[in-house]
Homo-oligomer: 253 residues x 2
């Protein structure tokens, strides 16, 4: 929560630079130690958490705004980002409205406007990210997908929709390039799929199918150090990977 003065300044700046009524919210998925993580912000002096989001500069392409917002929160450039839905229930930011409505008259109060929010989801390598809170937030954290805190506004819906879309996408597009480190083992990749889908997959069938897609290169060296048989390392064949991204895996009909 901002002070009245901060709020006023923010609103003036916002009205000057951003398109009104439109926001962007990002669901940033990361993967670490076998768990799906989502990047969340904790609002100052408040219980609830939010998805990282922001507004669209007046002359800015949407995609660029989403990238800019993510760069501010994660430090990352060139993120895999996918627009997946617009959320526009007129009541969706009621909580926001209640919170700010008494601090500034409606005419100059940016936050009491109705906002449509464009949902993007991002897949990022957990290790590359430096979570950074914004001026409204006390914290920016990775949270377990299985153990989420209470989300404000409609952000639980946005998160769920993003996850559903991601799971669907798994059926006809490769993922992983943006979630895994450069070099990884087959069991590690399988763990990613199992985590996203929230179900166990057969080791052997997974490997056969995965290799069948032709988007992996097996490296010469194995991963040493574990107390067990050293697994092979793989990396993505970027050319084939990108081709698969645009063409999709199976034709269906």
């Amino acid at each position: 929560m901002l002070t009245k003065k901060e709020l006023k300044e923010y609103c003036e700046n916002a009205r000057e630079n951003y398109l009104p009524h439109i926001s962007i919210d990002c669901v940033v998925f990361g993967f670490h130690e076998g768990l799906m993580k989502v990047l969340l912000l904790k609002i100052k002096n408040e219980g609830g958490w939010y998805l990282p989001g922001g507004f669209l500069l007046k002359p800015e392409p949407i995609e660029m705004a989403a990238n800019r917002i993510l760069k501010e929160r994660t430090g990352l450039d060139e993120i895999f980002l996918q627009q997946f839905h617009v959320f526009g229930d007129p009541e969706r930011s009621k909580e926001h409205f209640e919170m700010y409505k008494d601090m500034l008259p409606a005419k100059e109060n940016w936050f009491t406007n109705r906002f449509l929010t464009i949902g993007y989801y991002a897949l990022v390598d957990f290790c590359d990210v430096n979570p950074a809170p914004d001026q409204f937030s006390a914290a920016c954290n990775w949270c377990d997908l299985n153990d989420l805190p209470e989300l404000k506004l409609d952000h639980a819906l946005i998160l769920k929709t993003a996850l559903d879309t991601l799971r669907l996408q798994l059926n006809y597009q490769p993922i992983g390039y943006n979630l895994m480190p450069r070099e990884f083992t087959m069991p590690e990749l399988q763990k990613l799929y199992e985590t996203i889908l929230d179900k166990k997959l057969d080791r052997r069938n997974f490997q056969r199918r995965m290799l069948g897609f032709g988007i992996l290169n097996r490296l010469e060296k194995p991963r040493k150090g574990g107390a067990h048989k050293a697994p092979y390392l793989y990396s993505f064949d970027l050319e084939n990977y990108k081709a698969a991204l645009t063409e999709g895996f199976k034709g269906g009909w």
Copy 2:
């Protein structure tokens, strides 16, 4: 193209009632005599065609706006509508901008604003539709998907994206309920699929697969009148159809 007076009135009304910077465009697919059709509007005194679209009332849910807009153009209620993408290139409405910029000063000129447009596609039964032009249009017509006129703005992109999304959707969702008459034959349904996908399918395999989904009821009576063997009539099993819509056809993993 409007007169200056009409434009001014329109803009005043729009600024009062609609959210600025946001529009909705609809790609309305119909199916007739073996051809995919799209509903297009022809602007008065101009060469180009547009997708039917409109704006979002200040307190209106997006979905409801899309339905309202479609009802105005087609007379239809309860249409199958699916949001598929937001188009937000800052330059996307440049043509509009050029066209209207000299007629009213920018401050009161609704049409020189930047607009993000939310794309919806609709599947409708061709026969039920009464195309109705709006106040900007000289005509509202079904156009052949294979023989499209020149589309203004980025509407060709919007249409292509809608079609791609529809084709993808065919792989994991049933369609047809909204495009076919209540009763239809298997060859007719097949023709629909062939038209959407723009490729021939095997008659026997199509039937086997289609029936396998369990969303069709075979009716007792055949379709009489043709000069050949009378085909069976089918109707959709609405309950199973709706279940398939939400659950999807094949699990993939």
